[in-house]
């Protein structure tokens, strides 16, 4: 369903992606792991069509993102749910209005129908009772859950999830990842998840790809990745200081 072929991207001369290729079949979640700042979020933005590759192709259901224009790309994006690292909630809107935003903007549902849908989703993510609060008045975990609710409210076919558990306490992180798993079971979306919570994420996903210096160095099932003898993968998973990946 999602396919990247030889995707290259540079920003002002800094080569970030150097030929990224992988595929995510329908209904599967792929975990994208790798060192911070090596382009994982950039890959998500490429898939969402927010960033165009310098070279290479990104296709969703056989449709090449780079060739889509105006209404076509808007129609494709309406099938996406994107969970941003920081939530990206609209600070001027309440929790309710944030979740209702995509429905108000892109559907012809009545106010009552919108209210019903939003309240159901808020219930699902455990945020009932906070709908009149603003993002500044809720905790980090609640912001993430609101963002998940907003991403889910239109039943997306494709979910792009950027570091859902970053900055959260272990319980909150577990809750968020568990929520993603249960939603995946319910609606069976196709997704890419970027996360450093390897143990928990590996329980959710079907396959894992590791990005290193702008290329995918390995793809496999969570079990295969855990058993990988690739020194880069091993060091990343175990978090050893000594190894081929070194910081100076």
């Amino acid at each position: 369903m999602i396919k990247l072929e030889d995707v290259h991207k540079s920003f002002d001369g800094l080569e970030v992606l150097r030929g990224v290729s992988f595929e995510v079949p329908k209904g599967e979640i792929l975990a994208l792991i790798g060192i911070s700042g090596h382009g994982k979020s950039v890959i998500l933005k490429h898939v969402a069509g927010l960033v165009k590759p310098d070279r290479g192709r990104i296709t969703i259901d056989g449709k090449e993102m780079g060739r889509l224009k105006g209404p076509e790309i808007e129609a494709l994006r309406s099938r996406f749910g994107f969970l941003f690292q920081g939530g990206a909630l609209f600070s001027s809107l309440t929790v309710f209005d944030n979740v209702a935003f995509p429905l108000k903007e892109k559907t012809k549902l009545s106010d009552q129908e919108i209210e019903g849908t939003v309240m159901t989703v808020l219930e699902q993510v455990g945020l009932r009772g906070t709908e009149r609060r603003y993002p500044a008045q809720i905790s980090g975990g609640m912001i993430k859950r609101t963002a998940i609710a907003r991403a889910l409210v239109r039943n997306p076919e494709i979910m792009l999830i950027d570091e859902p558990a970053t900055g959260l306490d272990p319980v909150n992180a577990h809750t968020i990842l568990d929520l993603i798993r249960s939603v995946h079971r319910q609606i069976g979306f196709t997704g890419i998840i970027v996360s450093h919570e390897l143990t928990r994420v590996f329980q959710i996903v079907q396959r894992v790809a590791m990005l290193f210096e702008g290329v995918i160095i390995t793809v496999g099932t969570p079990e295969e990745i855990m058993a990988s003898q690739n020194p880069f993968v091993r060091q990343f998973i175990t978090g050893e200081i000594e190894g081929p990946i070194q910081y100076r």
Partner: protein, 324 residues
């Protein structure tokens, strides 16, 4: 600056350690990439801390091969290219804004919200500025005209000064300071916190949602604020000239109608209309192109206020020379 490189095993593909951002004045390329895309790149550079950031557009300090005069010429060239690039981008931005403003769907709710913010919430500032400006004009005008025994002309002097020049210009400057800066900061923060990306991904056109309502609100609110400024200023002038210094009400307002025509009023309205466009245009543009982090937003806000203010004064001169 802290540098970090990633070492790999001998024989493996090594990461690039040269500064990929160093460039000469002659290699500045015109880039019309969507600002969000450039921002993603900047953010990544921050994360990787792999290289020093260049002074935008005009950094030729790396050109050691050039002697001093040539470096100055190179810098001038780079600045010229930067100016042309920014002008082009701003022109395209305004063109897009007008195109979306003229084509449906129209977001009346958003426009009203912005009118409330730009217009209604600026009311008190405009009232106070107008009142004091009128009072100063009344005082200074009376003292000057008194020397020539022409205090009867105080009304026309105050009203013409306000309606033709001071009303539109000072209103625009005050709105720039109060609402324009907030506009840039709000859009800038929305950009760096990925709220604009979120809007795009929900299939909503950010131009229609963020820029067009502000542009239309500027066009509607500025003439109204200017009218308030003018009226309050004229009464402020009367308060000093009439109530305090003895010019009669009939003389003050009667002479005004003798010396002022509709052309003066219309000129003031035209000016304020264009200032409304200018403020919304510059402040929204700067917000959308704000750099990463708090520093980027504060820099964009300062640039927006300075550029808007200078352009208001410049455009006022152009309009005055064309209209009168």
């Amino acid at each position: 600056m802290l540098k970090r490189t990633i070492k790999t095993h001998p024989g493996k593909r090594s990461s690039e350690t040269k500064n990929p951002l160093s460039f000469s004045a002659f290699s500045v390329k015109i880039d019309f990439a969507f600002p969000l895309e450039r921002e993603t790149g900047r953010k990544m550079m921050n994360q990787r801390e792999a290289c020093d950031r260049p002074a935008r557009g005009a950094d030729v300090s790396g050109r050691k091969d050039l002697d001093a005069p040539m470096r100055w010429i190179a810098r001038l060239g780079a600045l010229t290219l930067f100016f042309l690039r920014e002008t082009g981008r701003m022109g395209l931005f305004l063109g897009r804004a007008f195109f979306y403003a003229a084509t449906p769907p129209f977001r009346l709710g958003q426009v009203l919200k912005q009118i409330q913010f730009i217009g209604f919430q600026s009311g008190l500032v405009i009232f106070l500025t107008g009142a004091f400006t009128g009072m100063v004009l009344g005082l200074q005008g009376f003292n000057t005209l008194n020397r020539f025994g022409s205090t009867a002309l105080l009304g026309p002097m105050v009203s013409l000064s306000l309606i033709r020049e001071l009303g539109p210009v000072l209103s625009a400057l005050m709105v720039t300071g109060r609402a324009g800066s907030a506009m840039t900061a709000e859009i800038g923060i929305m950009k760096i916190t990925e709220q604009i990306d979120a809007i795009v991904l929900m299939g909503v056109n950010p131009f229609r949602y963020l820029i067009v309502p502000r542009l239309l609100a500027g066009i509607i609110a500025l003439p109204l604020l200017t009218a308030i400024f003018d009226v309050v200023g004229i009464y402020g002038g009367y308060l000093i000239g009439g109530k305090l210094l003895g010019v009669t009400k009939g003389t003050y307002f009667g002479e005004m109608s003798n010396y002022m025509g509709m052309v003066d009023v219309l000129a003031g309205i035209y000016k304020s209309l264009t200032f409304g466009v200018l403020i919304a245009w510059v402040c929204s543009y700067k917000g959308l192109r704000a750099g990463f982090g708090a520093e980027g937003v504060s820099k964009a806000t300062t640039q927006a206020v300075v550029l808007s203010s200078v352009l208001i004064l410049f455009w006022d001169y152009i309009m005055t020379s064309l209209l009168f």
